[in-house]
Symmetry: C2
Subunit: 208 residues, 2 copies
Amino acid sequence: MPSEEADTRGALVTAGRRLFAERGYEGATVRAITGAAGANVASVAYHFGSKEGLYLQVIMEVLSPLGERIQEVAAAEASGTGRIEALLQAVFEHLWDNPDQAQIMVEVRLHRADLLPQLAEMLAPMTTGLMQIVTEAQASGVVREGPPLLFVMSLMAQPVYFMLLTRRAPEGVLPANPHTAEGRKVYVDHMVDFALGGLAGTHRTEGR
Amino acid sequence: MPSEEADTRGALVTAGRRLFAERGYEGATVRAITGAAGANVASVAYHFGSKEGLYLQVIMEVLSPLGERIQEVAAAEASGTGRIEALLQAVFEHLWDNPDQAQIMVEVRLHRADLLPQLAEMLAPMTTGLMQIVTEAQASGVVREGPPLLFVMSLMAQPVYFMLLTRRAPEGVLPANPHTAEGRKVYVDHMVDFALGGLAGTHRTEGR
DNA sequence: GACCGTATAAAACGATCGTTTAAATCACGG
DNA sequence: CCGTGATTTAAACGATCGTTTTATACGGTC
């Protein structure tokens, strides 16, 4: 009977997730990963076939939870602006607790264009959830008319960008300390205000 | 008299800029860069001391133009929402024409935390220009009260994120073709609408 | 034409990369 | 307690990394 899930295998994924995010695919060496996992150099080839195999496994495991989280928000009942607020809150908090996620997503988009089709497939549950949230918000009048994808992009830009900028920012330059729950609330509140305003009717040239 | 600017030196910066952006610091090898530049392998060490030296030079050259562009927008006279619109237009178009810029900025932020202090220093003209635009917009009533940096982050998130997502997106999924000027106008118009709404008064729980 | 600092060239350096090999160890049913 | 497949280990593989070395070609000055 094959045991299918040894301890080293999980340790390799955990270490790979962290090191791929910190240093990128090329920067994270097999020896660094196996060293951090307390495993042998050959264990990557044995369990995943190659470094690339481990990378794909890491991507899959790292992307799933956020997609599920967004699906939950999309399925939850909320009135008017409540669902948008819940979405931004959930995405930002999730990305903050799992910085590997955003880093690996950006890394793939920047330097691994060959994996973009697979990435889009893995992100499918997330994008459908987002589109559902926006289209329903348009039906209820919270969001103005227009291609839903544009609003999805504008929405996601906020938590992703804020997470990347605040994660390792030096102290003193930020208006609130994101390492505390109260500090993060400042950013979430701002993102919600900004997004709700942006989603509503246009303010183009004339006031209101 | 030293010639100071040989042809190979410029070719190395050009090739390095492209390859560092495409493949990241670790992924872009010295041999690939010198090969693309039509130069010898030893030329990087000769002209820049090391691969790291070339990377720093590329960062400096790639960051300057956007900072100057934003300073121009900040200095230009524009009434009400015009300056915000000009800012988003300029940033998105500049990033679109120079994708290396955003890619390298993100790369440094993700995988080269050791360079963040130098990056912040190089970005100083850009951030001061952005802060000036926002604070003056607050004074004129276009932007509601609040820490200017939060609005700067929300503003920049839009063109950066849109550029990263639309640059290599497969055909058919996007609502407009960003490779044409007319298509990019769709994205810029949306970003302007979204941003102006987000910058104005809050739409929190009650309608309008 | 000899001289000299600058620049390019080819070749080699040690180090480290991902991967492979082959032996050792483990878990366990017969 | 032996056999057998699964796992781990140490060692080595060829390839490629960034860098150094050494020699050669170039452009002015005296």
